[in-house]
């Protein structure tokens, strides 16, 4: 059995403030186009099934156009007789009672299997069982749901989250959950992972397919595309959907450079061939403020218009590094516990109730923070 593994399509993602002739966000349209191209390529390859390992939609309330594009692609696959298995990810799973899962619209369609109800589901497709653990409400739930899996001997696991091996590469999005090493069992024929946007193997039987698109400059070096996996031969083949279109340039040290020299450097990098229809970031460091102010941007701006997006990141010579730590809202409960402990030490809290006050107060605050964060995420458009 051959399957296509894809993930993190983020349909509906818009960015870079550039619109097409119809007034639509150009990058958003590019994401739709990339997804449709991928579906066409899949149909051409003719796998036995497609697995999408989470984050089809960029948010939990996709717009009509996003839903329409997705529906059109599902229909194409259905017509080609290719079943698809989908799980919800941290972006498109509802987290509060105020939102409904967008996937309810697509339930019941022929050959479309969606796990999105925050618990384990399995689907039999071809000669394999697909064990799906979608986005769960609590990070602790994953192991419990994983415990429900009963192996058939031909099993594929589909998960969305960050494995421990990639913990240093956190995307720092709300609802980003960790996949424990203990879930990556070697007795699965394949483990299709989603969430990390680069295409990387985690073990012989576990891969991140990566996303098709580049969503931020941190991904500029990532390999992108989809994976064709032969479940019988344990082979994975990377399939590219589009050429690399994001460049994050090496920083240019501008110490002692005049405005003319800086401009020359910029023009040197921004040749037409390099930036046309590309997303580019140019990093300048140690820039003198007067020199930067006096740069003649006319010709640079003309070139900039050719790019899909050109970002100039400047670190000024006189810039004081801001060392004050930002308040991490997710750890408010820890701050609160610390505060109470200090108060307790100063005997401002009676000793008899100190421990109870800390335990109760901290727990309550933690719950409030989680609730507020999830509500905020659901409300994002």
């Amino acid at each position: 059995m051959k399957i296509i593994h894809m993930a993190d399509s983020h349909l509906g993602f818009s960015s870079h403030n550039r619109v097409d002739k119809f007034g639509r966000n150009q990058f958003e349209e590019m994401v739709y186009k990339g997804f449709e191209e991928a579906i066409d390529k899949i149909i051409h390859l003719g796998p036995d099934a497609v697995v999408h390992a989470g984050d089809i939609f960029h948010n939990v309330r996709p717009r009509i156009r996003t839903l329409y594009v997705f529906k059109r692609c599902l229909e194409k696959l259905s017509e080609a007789g290719i079943p698809i298995i989908i799980i919800s990810g941290n972006h498109d799973a509802p987290k509060s009672s105020s939102s409904t899962s967008p996937f309810v619209i697509f339930e019941g369609l022929r050959d479309v299997h969606i796990a999105h109800k925050a618990h384990y589901e399995r689907f039999e497709v071809g000669d394999h069982l697909f064990h799906c653990i979608p986005f769960c409400l609590d990070p602790k739930d994953y192991l419990n749901e994983f415990g429900k899996i009963e192996r058939s001997g031909q099993d594929v696991l589909v998960l969305h989250g960050l494995v421990e091996a990639l913990k240093g590469k956190k995307l720092r999005t709300i609802g980003e959950h960790e996949i424990k090493d203990s879930m990556l069992k070697s007795d699965f024929d394949y483990i299709a992972l989603g969430h990390y946007h680069g295409q990387v193997p985690i073990s012989n039987n576990a891969w991140y397919s990566g996303s098709i698109e580049y969503f931020n400059f941190g991904e500029s070096e990532d390999k992108k595309g989809i994976l064709l996996r032969d479940l019988d031969r344990f082979e994975a083949q990377s399939i590219s959907i589009r050429p690399r279109y994001m460049v994050n340039c090496q920083p240019i040290d501008c110490v002692g450079l005049s405005s003319i020299e800086i401009k020359e450097k910029l023009m040197e990098i921004c040749s037409r061939e390099v930036i046309q229809n590309m997303i580019v970031r140019i990093n300048l460091k140690n820039v003198s403020r007067p020199a930067f102010k006096n740069i003649d941007y006319a010709s640079f701006n003309r070139l900039k218009a050719l790019a899909l997006h050109l970002d100039l990141k400047v670190a000024f010579l006189d810039e004081q590094e801001n060392r004050s730590e930002a308040i991490d809202k997710s750890n408010l409960h820890e701050e609160f516990a610390k505060f109470l402990k200090e108060e307790g030490e100063c005997e401002r809290i009676p000793r008899t109730i100190k421990e109870d006050a800390i335990a109760y107060g901290t727990g309550l605050l933690k719950k409030a923070v989680v609730a507020q964060n999830t509500e905020a995420l659901d409300a994002t458009q």
């Binding site: 509802p94 192991l143 091996a165 070697s186 576990a206 727990g363 509500e375």
Partner: protein, 535 residues
């Protein structure tokens, strides 16, 4: 008042004093109230009736208190002797069955001062109690000052003789762990139980997000994960399971959702890691050192192939030498199935340690060499990562080494562990050395260890070796260390003013206690949950 009057008063006072001196001091035999009779600031002697009820017997290790005006002196019994007011053996009749003069016979208790309490504060003794001061068994409230100085990792209760004082838990400070910990005990004295109790307390802190360090335990006996029979393992502590991460090489455990399969990626192995595997000759060591230079990547794969061997030969190394190295590497990969072309557990292990969790590596039935090889890789990787990220806020790390004399012994070629013992503290990495034979551990390395948990050592050489390196003076505890029973310990650590006698929790009992505690708080805060609409 006239001069005559005043001289009369003085005379009377003198007479009173003389009467007081001549008056016989009587030691009560009805109860356990005894009195100080000697000796100096560093050693107190008091008398005890020669015949008492079993419940009244004085034991080595018991703590007594001596109240003297505003001061309360605490002293621990270090020895008990038969004694009398007669010199030599004149106290016993010729037949040897009776006392010569019963009123002059007693037991002499020799106690070591621990310190004194003044207005609730504990301090070292710089004076001694007045002669004939009352001595009695210390009561629980008198130990309350200890609660103030105890740490956060609970391991047992304070022990007064053989009795546990359950009101006073003994806890080690998290801040002491990067100063290394030594667990010293002969077989069967409760080392494994101690480690499980220690790990359970760490799991509790980790699950509450209060832990200050990650604990790495490499278990070559496969006893910590799930225990054996009635003996429970760390996985049985379900309440704080979030604080535990398990990796195993045992296929039996793979089906468990909470146990990860241990893997080390082939690219993560360095030539230096092999040093613990064999006794390499000088030529072989040279070749191993050069391998990393000759092959920039994939050296382990390449050295097994003829091309790789030829490349090393062309660099001037002997073909036979390279043949031996190549063959040994093949054996290594053959024996250690956890070495994988792609997969690696190391990043997960590190991140969990940095998050302050307990990481258990279960490697039952692994050969000693392979165990040391794995431990060597783990230690190197941990130290490297902690060095690299020393500026980042991360929790400290404690690496447990069973049978530590193998790697910290005099003349062992395992410099990596020595480096951690000497330099680890700078980067927040500590060692927890467990050994039955402290005498084999290098004295200099032993002196780097600031927390000792001594659980009974029969060999005098072991005790002397420890006493010479301990932070606290343990020499006076020699008799007590000899007489420690299973589960009893002396804990000498930073932050606690004297070596504390402890009764280590039984893991199974502690497990039940941890599972029960704090349920009410949880119920209060866990009610209600947002439920999205899926249908």
């Amino acid at each position: 008042m006239t001069l005559k009057d005043s001289s009369l008063i003085e005379k009377k006072e003198n007479q009173k004093g003389l009467d007081g001196l001549l008056q016989t001091k009587i030691i009560e035999t009805k109860d356990t109230t005894y009195r100080i009779i000697a000796k100096n600031v560093s050693e107190y002697h008091f008398t005890v009736p020669f015949e008492v009820h079993d419940s009244e017997r004085v034991e080595v290790g018991q703590i007594f208190s001596i109240k003297d005006k505003g001061l309360t002196f605490l002293a621990r019994v270090i020895d008990i002797r038969h004694d009398s007011n007669y010199d030599g053996n004149w106290d016993t009749t010729f037949t040897g069955t009776q006392f010569f003069d019963q009123s002059q016979i007693f037991n002499r208790v020799i106690a070591e001062p621990l310190g004194c309490i003044l207005e609730g504060k504990f301090k070292k003794c710089k004076t001694l109690p007045t002669k004939f001061s009352l001595v009695k068994r210390a009561e629980e409230y008198e130990f309350s000052f200890l609660q103030e100085v105890m740490g956060d990792i609970e391991i047992g209760y304070l022990r007064n003789g053989s009795m546990a004082v359950e009101q006073i838990p003994v806890s080690i400070h998290s801040t002491a762990i990067d100063h290394h910990i030594g667990i010293f005990a002969t077989t069967g004295m409760g080392k494994s139980n101690f480690m499980k109790v220690f790990a359970a307390s760490c799991m509790q802190l980790a699950a509450r997000n209060e832990s200050k360090f990650g604990l790495l335990i490499v278990d070559p006996h496969g006893e910590y994960l799930k225990g054996k029979g009635p003996v429970k393992g760390l996985m049985h502590l379900k309440r704080y399971s979030e604080g535990l991460v398990c990796y195993s090489i045992d296929r039996k455990n793979f089906s468990d959702p909470g146990v990860a399969e241990l893997s080390i990626s082939i690219s993560e192995i360095e030539a230096g890691d092999l040093s613990v595997l064999y006794d390499w000759s000088a030529a072989q060591r040279d070749a191993l050192e050069a391998i990393a230079r000759v092959f920039e990547s994939c050296w382990l794969e390449r050295i097994q192939k003829p091309d790789g061997i030829n490349k090393m030969v062309s660099e001037g190394f002997n073909a036979t030498t390279m043949g031996v190295i190549s063959r040994r590497i093949k054996n290594l990969l053959e024996k250690n199935r956890y070495i994988d072309p792609v997969r690696s557990s190391l990043p997960g292990i590190i991140s969990n340690l940095q998050d302050g969790r307990v990481v258990l590596i279960d490697i039952p039935r692994m050969s000693e060499q392979s165990e040391l090889f794995l431990l060597s890789i783990l230690s190197r990787y941990i130290l490297e990562k902690y060095k690299e990220e020393s500026s980042v806020e991360q929790k400290n790390c404690l690496i447990t080494i069973e049978e530590a004399q193998r790697v910290l012994g005099t003349g062992s070629n395992t410099y990596r562990f020595e480096t951690i013992a000497r330099e680890g503290r700078k980067f927040g990495v500590g060692l927890c050395a467990i050994t039955q034979q402290p005498k084999l551990i290098d004295k200099q390395l032993l002196s780097q260890i600031n927390t000792f948990v001594v659980m009974g050592l029969a060999d005098r050489n072991d005790r002397v070796h420890l006493e010479e390196s301990a932070r606290h003076d343990l020499s006076s505890l020699d008799i007590e260390i000899q007489t420690l029973e299973k589960g009893e310990a002396i804990v000498s650590t930073l932050g606690i003013p004297f070596p504390v006698p402890a009764k280590i929790h039984s893991y199974e009992v502690y497990l039940k206690k941890l599972e029960k505690e704090g349920r009410t708080d949880e119920r209060l805060v866990s009610g209600g949950r947002f439920k999205p609409i899926f249908d």
